[in-house]
């Protein structure tokens, strides 16, 4: 038997049982397609999240008391003394202390309740922020306790709509401040909160709050790039100063947080990765279901195929002729199904990310090669195994047995 004969026998076989071929292919399309789609959505999402945080410098540390999340409830533990001591560490730079104000901000009839940061110019370096209009806070503002304010882009828009805020005077609590700058938008929903913030000089906030002991927050960067070394320096210094005996480095025992963005990003990375894994799991289940479908269709058609195999053997087909024909049939089905599934899923995934990009911005399509090859290989293996298994069994029968008794 020529190879071309086997190929055409396989093609004719597929054509003769169009419905079965179609259903098998569909099972593979769905199985492979859903995995590729889910994993690509997961990967795109992961990449999106990471791109949101990657503008932040991983070397930046944030230090604050535990309980800072409940703004306004004075949960305080970091002192001016701590600030002083931290400044003296050799592994830190760009120290930016902050005291928060909870006063409302008013301009004309507009009023917002933003997060008001009383801080120094270093905060902008640590947070990689740039001015869109005007300028940032500077040392003179702090030294002179000037009533100036820098607005996050969203805060500026909320208060001033389309007018230029630079030089305008607004009210924070009962005090008047002059707007000297507007920040560039962070451009990501994840950092949207930062766009609504308002920045005033540290000395001003300190005076308004009447603080002499505690500060709310410190941002700084590690010097020399060894984040872990910096973290250990800060943590042991603060534990010593706060009389916390914590040799086992159990963060639950501390009354403060000291965390680098790098750690935060790792956490985000872990979360998004588990989302991807979860989606992959769901996809894996659908691949399994698809596989069972393929299996089912292949097995259901055994009766007819067995008769066909018996007939082919009766007219002289060898075992290997039969096996090769069924192998080819299964390969063609699974390949077509797999390729259509992959292309369909890539197309659909791309479309979905485009739509999401329109809505959220900053989303690009991502897919890994493994996410394509793995489901493809699985489908092909399932297709081959269950395409060939019945054929193998039938090919071992005597022709009359396979044809069924007449």
């Amino acid at each position: 038997m020529l190879l071309s004969d086997t190929i055409s026998a396989a093609m004719e076989g597929l054509k003769r049982s169009r419905m079965r071929s179609l259903l098998t292919t569909l099972g593979i399309v769905i199985g492979v397609g859903s995995v590729v789609l889910m994993v690509s959505i997961g990967a795109s999402f992961e990449r999106y999240i990471l791109s949101q945080v990657e503008s932040f410098s991983g070397d930046t540390f944030e230090i604050h008391a535990k309980g800072i999340q409940d703004v306004g409830k004075d949960v305080l533990s970091i002192t001016f003394g701590d600030l002083e001591a931290i400044s003296n560490l050799t592994t830190v730079k760009n120290i930016a202390p902050a005291i928060f104000l909870t006063d409302r901000v008013k301009y004309g009839r507009e009023e917002i309740a933003p997060f008001v940061f009383g801080t120094t110019k270093e905060i902008f370096i640590n947070w990689s922020m740039k001015p869109e209009y005007g300028r940032l806070l500077n040392d003179e503002d702090d030294r002179g306790a000037k009533a100036v304010v820098v607005l996050g882009s969203q805060a500026a828009e909320d208060l001033f709509t389309n007018t230029n805020p630079i030089g305008k005077r607004l009210t924070i609590g009962s005090r008047k401040f002059t707007v000297v700058g507007v920040m560039e938008a962070m451009g990501s929903p994840l950092a949207a909160q930062m766009d609504s913030m308002v920045y005033v000089p540290f000395s001003v906030a300190k005076a308004i709050q009447g603080r002499t002991t505690y500060i709310d927050y410190i941002a700084l960067q590690s010097m020399g790039g060894d984040n872990e070394l910096t973290r250990r320096d800060i943590v042991s210094l603060l534990r010593q100063r706060h009389n916390i005996d914590n040799p086992e480095d159990d963060q639950d025992k501390d009354d403060f947080y000291a965390r680098s963005f790098e750690q935060a990003m790792d956490i985000i990375g872990t979360v998004t990765m588990s989302i991807t894994l979860f989606l992959g799991l769901i996809a894996g289940i659908s691949l399994l279901v698809g596989g069972v479908g393929i299996m089912n269709i292949m097995l259901v058609s055994v009766t007819e195929r067995t008769k066909e195999i018996g007939l082919r053997k009766a007219v002289g087909a060898r075992r290997q002729d039969i096996l090769l024909q069924f192998l080819l049939e299964a390969i063609v089905l699974t390949l077509i199904g797999g390729v259509v599934g992959v292309i369909g899923a890539l197309g659909l995934g791309y479309l979905l990310t485009m739509i999401a990009n329109k809505l959220l911005g900053g989303i690009t399509y991502a897919i890994s090669l493994q996410a394509i090859l793995l489901p493809l290989a699985t489908a092909i293996i399932v297709g081959l195994v269950f395409g060939i298994y019945p054929a193998r069994k039938a090919a071992g029968l005597r022709p009359i047995e396979a044809m069924g008794y007449e």
């Binding site: 038997m1 007219v315 075992r319 007449e406």
Partner: protein, 256 residues
């Protein structure tokens, strides 16, 4: 007919009888249950014979044909084909014998479903190790013509009447022109005109040297044969030419 279809390799030689069974028994086993179907079959059929097997329904005619045509195995005794014992043939050898030396017209036709007449008749040729691919088309057309179905060549098998299916099955059996053709009630579904036509095809094959073994219930069909074997309850109860057959072997030997 061309000798290329009758390769002798693997067989002891052409002077042995084409078919010889010695004390052949056949039982079917279904879930441990034994159904004895054939008993002590001793049969010699020589090249060029035209044998009709007759007997009541269930007497084992089809079973015997399937064994002789290498579609099934027997349970006990010997079956020798050209002097070579069937039970010594391996899978590939059996496939080759089925492809080149014997063909079968099944009682239930066994056509490929949803395949055209052309594809059905082509089927044995794609497994034939000798007939060149270029010859296939003309052979298929010739075989289809011989059963008078040329105008239906591209009809699908499920678009055919019972008689037409039977004729396709016959065309498929003769397309490789094997030395031995089995036909299990080849005229069973045909009107007398088509039946006569089919018998003429088989008669022509016989006249050109092919050995034909057929099962029939009809006396008129059996009359084409020069030997009638009757089965009853799995045993041979009559063989019209038992003596002649022996004599023919001797004559064959004398000719050498």
């Amino acid at each position: 007919m061309s000798s290329q279809n009758n390769p002798t390799n693997g067989f002891n030689g052409e002077d042995s009888p084409l078919i010889q069974t010695k004390n052949l028994y056949k039982s079917y086993f279904n879930e441990g249950l034994e159904t004895k179907v054939l008993f002590d079959i001793n049969l010699t059929i020589n090249k060029g014979e035209f044998v009709a097997i007759m007997g009541p329904s269930g007497s084992g005619k089809s079973t015997l044909m399937h064994i002789l045509g290498f579609l099934d195995n027997h349970t006990e005794g010997e079956y020798e084909f050209h002097g070579k014992a069937a039970r010594t043939m391996d899978e590939d050898m059996l496939a080759k014998v089925r492809a080149t030396r014997v063909s079968f017209v099944f009682q239930a036709f066994n056509l490929l479903p949803r395949a055209s007449i052309y594809q059905n008749v082509m089927l044995p040729l794609i497994y034939h190790p000798i007939i060149p691919a270029e010859e296939r088309d003309s052979r298929v057309n010739k075989a289809i013509e011989s059963v008078d179905l040329t105008d239906r060549t591209n009809f699908l098998s499920n678009q055919l009447s019972g008689g037409q299916k039977q004729r396709v099955a016959i065309a498929r059996a003769l397309v490789t022109e094997p030395e031995l053709i089995f036909a299990d009630e080849p005229t069973g579904n045909l009107d007398s005109a088509s039946g006569i036509q089919v018998m003429k095809v088989l008669q022509d094959l016989h006249d050109s040297g092919h050995t034909i073994i057929l099962v029939t219930h009809e006396q008129s069909t059996a009359e084409h044969a020069d030997r009638i074997i009757e089965l009853f309850d799995g045993r041979i109860t009559r063989d019209t030419e038992e003596f002649k057959t022996r004599w023919a072997v001797d004559e064959d030997k004398l000719m050498k």
